[in-house]
Amino acid sequence: MLETLQNLSLGFSVALSPTVLLYAFVGCVIGTLVGVLPGVGPLAGISLLLPVTFGLDATRAIVMLAGIYYGAMYGGSTTSILMRIPGEAASVMTCIDGYAMARKGRAGAALAIAAVGSYVAGTASIVGLMALAPPLAAFALRFGPPEYLALLTLGLLVLAYMSSGSMLKSLAMAALGLLLGMVGIDQMSGYFRFAYGLVELGDGLGVVPVAVGLFGLAEILATAGQPTPPGVIQPRFRELLPSRREWRESTLPIARGTVLGFLIGVIPGSAHIISSFVSYALEKRLSRHPEEFGQGAVAGVAGPESANNSATSGAFVPMLALGVPSGPIPAVMLAAMMVHGVAPGPLLIQQQPALFWGFIASMYVGNVVLLILNLPLVGLFVNLLRVPYSYLYPAILVFAILGVYAVNGSVVDVWIMLAMGVLGWVLRKLDFETAPIVLGVVLAPMIELSLRQSLAMSDGRYAIFIERPIAATLLAVGAVLVLLSLRTFVRRGRDWRARVVLAGKGEGP
């Protein structure tokens, strides 16, 4: 404990030195902007700036790149809440209830809660990163394909909780999403599937163009299709802050989202995207008013936004403790370390204490910076809603196209986004929800790969999923969830029978 405090004071002495502080600040600002811009996510932002860091020393470079990563999670909620366009993929869930809150005039409250939730989650999860990194990293490595599949199965069960409307329609959309997720090179055999000769479709439909199209473009098209444009929201200053009730309703979701996001973030291969989906489903399951979800439930913003932030700290655990990338973003950061001659690996913490602890301390500092940066911006961003739609929407459209193009420099991605926008608009007209499609597109390749990898490991025996303790436990949890929902089903049935019996008695003598 004492040692940790000494190390941390070393870290703060590094993090608070003027230049490191400057780079943390720059990283946070860029991250916020990258998050705010639709399409451009943290991966694109970090990739674009990686070459710029080559002139810096390792600590500054890493501090700045990390700032972009967690800064993007702060900024990502902004356009989700204001315009229903996910600023980056992990903010897809925020589109649902965040935007619904904005339509009710609670945009300021939603933005403030997202910022505070991100701050709490960001700061609390660094404590987890600091205290648990080595043991947790060893545990995370035991997540192989079978464990991952079990986790994703849980994710699929989440789908059932996504909808606020018809369950059948929601499942149909999930199936459509899973089908769209099948496009691309089959990773086990090398076949091109449903690519129609387009090499660009080899990697499948990207989450970013699909999400921006289905949510953002569809919203723009739907608004443009109305005979009279909806009234411009005129936010008043006193409505910017969350009410006491909204604070109360977000406290527990923020706490749960923090823990959940951190744990999911640690697992290699898992994306921060999933953490926000799972958190949303969890909050809906635990809520006393599940019917409010989709209509502007505060918990539907607070939970996922906290989860995606603490997932970023979680993702640093295997990276710093073992030198193992837990996803594409940590992989780029590992490369940045190598470029600077720092060998990532299990010995990093001992060999480079100033870098490791400086990095940890800079995350504390960075989160404070982001909170200070984001809370005043709430007022500014909310004012964007005052801009008439005829100016605002074309501008958004331009940014969305630029952003989606910038990710891979691919025109095919832009076409995917436009097609998804039209699809989303049609589905809205038919009263289908589009969130399950996005979840399907995210999950399908992961589920397929981990299932087939597991079977390759076991030579085709399905028993591998119950022989491995972690996988078995996760599947058992999933089974319990299914049974629990069956129980409410049965109980409701009994209520119905009981009512009939009562009615029969009433009619009796």
């Binding site: 705010v36 080559f54 490595l141 990773q187 090398g190 660009e200 590992l334 630029l402 390759a456």
Partner: protein, 326 residues
């Protein structure tokens, strides 16, 4: 909204600066070096110091563009079909010879073919190293091979993907040693290492730089190298050639290519510029940090190396054949 204008400003700077130079002399415009893989990978990390050194030698901007997708096929196809004027170059890895062969195997129109490129220079060539988890009983490559013969299809290894470089290395070994291993493809070299560290597979062929830290920390044990000579960073590790398996020769290499049809004077200018570029101390320092030894070859020498490698890989792909889905 800050990041974009900066990129635009750079672009603007890049396009306006060289117009002052004489129009006919090459290079008169900025050169684009396409890395067909995302930032942070071997191709990207090699491309950036190469571009920086070339820029210095040619006194002309050289920018790296990551054109990624479909295991590199998108970027390679882009360069293969771009105008052969010396302003679009490619930094390719060994997979340049694998992709057309796999396309042939599946009977689909190839995204590109190797003869659409002119090889300019080989920058680096690192042999793969066979590593196993330290808690496994195999002390030597011989132990490993004997055990694999006794239990065909039982010992599993991870790779960077089907027909990927790490898969091909293992396939060449399997053929040379007449053993059968179980293959677990993953989406990249990073996940492949994660799989062996997590104990989900029992072997891996990996580039040395990616596993040296894990060898030093005692988590992984190196058994043999696919190189012709022992690797300088691992002098105690024998080569498969020493062990009597000369067929198991494989390198993860990086080289610079131009589209076919690039005028001879431009090719000559680029070749001499690359020769000077690799001698730059900054370039040597950058490659040293990446723990990637420079293996510079040009002209006939590179062509021979490239042809031999392409032949070996094409055979490897054909031997694996079409993988029927499980």
């Amino acid at each position: 909204m800050r990041a974009r204008p900066m990129a635009f400003a750079l672009l603007l700077l890049a396009t306006t600066a060289p117009t002052a130079a004489a129009q006919e002399a090459y290079p008169a415009r900025p050169i684009t070096l396409v890395a067909p893989f995302p930032p942070g990978g071997v191709a990207d990390l090699t491309a950036r110091p190469v571009a920086a050194a070339l820029e210095k030698v040619l006194k002309n901007p050289v920018g790296v563009v990551n054109k990624t997708g479909a295991a590199g096929a998108v970027g390679m196809q882009f360069v293969a079909t771009s105008r052969p004027d010396g302003y679009t170059l490619l930094l390719a890895l060994s997979s340049i010879a694998i992709i057309p062969e796999a396309d042939k195997l599946f009977g689909r129109p190839p995204a590109f073919t190797v003869d659409q490129f002119v090889p300019l220079a080989l920058i680096s060539a690192d042999p793969t190293i066979l590593v196993v988890p330290a808690d496994k009983p195999w002390r030597t490559a011989r132990d490993f091979i004997e055990d694999a013969r006794k239990r065909p299809g039982q010992i599993s290894y991870s790779s960077s993907g089907i027909y990927g470089t790490l898969h091909m290395a293992m396939e060449l070994l399997s053929h040379a040693a007449d053993i059968k291993l179980r293959h677990l493809p993953t989406p990249g070299a990073g996940p492949a290492i994660t799989a062996i560290l997590g104990g989900h597979v029992e072997a891996l062929a990996s580039g040395p730089a990616a596993v040296i830290a894990h060898i030093q920390s005692g988590k992984l044990r190196p058994l043999a190298s696919w190189g012709v000579e022992r690797h300088p960073a691992l002098p105690d590790v024998p080569t498969f050639k020493e062990l009597g398996l000369p067929g198991a020769e494989f390198y993860i290499w990086a080289g610079v290519f131009a589209p076919k049809g690039t005028p001879a004077p431009v090719v000559a200018r680029l070749e001499s510029a690359l020769r000077q570029a690799v001698a730059e101390p900054e370039f040597r320092g950058a490659m040293d940090k990446l723990k990637t030894p420079i293996a510079f070859r040009q002209g006939e020498e590179f062509r021979r190396f490239f042809d031999a490698d392409a032949r070996r890989l094409a055979e490897g792909v054909r031997r694996v054949g079409r993988v029927e889905s499980k």
